[in-house]
Symmetry: C2
Subunit: 201 residues, 2 copies
């Protein structure tokens, strides 16, 4: 139906394309994701995506932004429920790890080190910021309940970096054979809770 191409139509195509791209990514890895295979999957010519995205990097940025949004949603959902702060935080942590290993390709996409300059993709920056916010948000609760002590932003980032480090080392196959991820994660969390515990008691 070619004439005006309304805003919702554009959004729908972009949506379908991003989903197809994510699928390709998951099935055939980074190299399996080509404009040509993507177009084939969508049943359009290889040049059609250029009507909806600037170029391949633009597509990648959109896919990454979507991954970040699903990730953030999972964390926010886990945090949303009722219960004591520690329990809510543990739910967030579980959701984090579950997402990372259930969708390793999305996780890779989000945090891969060799990525084109993010600042050129505002929606990606927004989605990444949304995810980051949650990192310190649940720590605020822990501090309020007296479980931890310190700056919530810093502590949140420390927890985040620690679990992220364990995840990526695991994903990169860099963890030794005699110490699996669950072990590392458990020891890390235990040590950090003790390390950031209020000083007086």
């Amino acid at each position: 139906m070619p004439r005006p191409l309304s805003e919702p139509e554009i959004a729908e195509f972009r949506d379908k394309l991003c989903n197809a791209a994510a699928g390709l990514f998951a099935r055939h890895g980074r190299d399996g994701f080509t404009l040509r295979s993507l177009s084939a999957e969508l049943g359009v010519s290889p040049m059609t995506p250029y009507r909806y995205f600037k170029d391949k990097d633009d597509i990648l940025a959109a896919v990454r932004a979507r991954a970040f949004d699903r990730f953030s949603q999972a964390l926010e959902d886990a945090f949303a429920g009722e219960g004591p702060a520690l329990e809510r935080t543990m739910r967030v942590g579980d959701a984090y790890v579950r997402f990372a290993f259930a969708e390793p390709d999305s996780y890779r996409l989000m945090f891969d080190l060799t990525q084109p300059d993010e600042e050129n993709y505002p929606d990606l920056v927004r989605a990444a910021t949304r995810a980051r916010r949650m990192m310190s948000e649940h720590v605020r609760n822990l501090i309020a309940e007296g479980i931890l002590e310190g700056d919530p932003v810093v502590i949140g980032h420390v927890f985040w970096a620690a679990v992220h480090g364990a995840i990526v080392l695991q994903m990169a196959g860099k963890l030794g054979p005699d110490c699996d991820f669950a072990h590392i994660r458990d020891a890390t969390m235990r040590a950090l809770y003790r390390g950031f515990a209020p000083k007086d008691r």
Copy 2:
């Protein structure tokens, strides 16, 4: 001089090629590293490297292995000197961080998530294992001096994962604007030392 191509000659060419590849990588990023530009840099035809390496992935594995070896060497040198355990460990930590930010491309190469199956490259596995060994080695000293308590392998991996996580988040530009790497690193180390401190005192 084409006839036998002695073992040292092969090693020398591989060496030169790996250095050139690392340079290309550093100057132009992953996409700037092509067989053609690499050959041009070496003053040979684009097919010559195939006499010394199976394919591009094989070259990449060799470059990665060399990065791991230089990395390990830096850590081992830092650990080698005299002094109390805590001081030696801090030297290792500093060497780690210094290497990561002085040679971010090498660090990326070592730990990038989208890498072909390592197990097919024995030398890479060896180099990676060498680096990993150091992670728990210095922790053994800390435990022997009563500064930490627990399994040195697990604790070593926890420290490793934590600092690695902070580094890659920093490199990926994922750390918030109001908390820089040095801050995170400091807080992480402080918390982990406290968290793994012997229970009695």
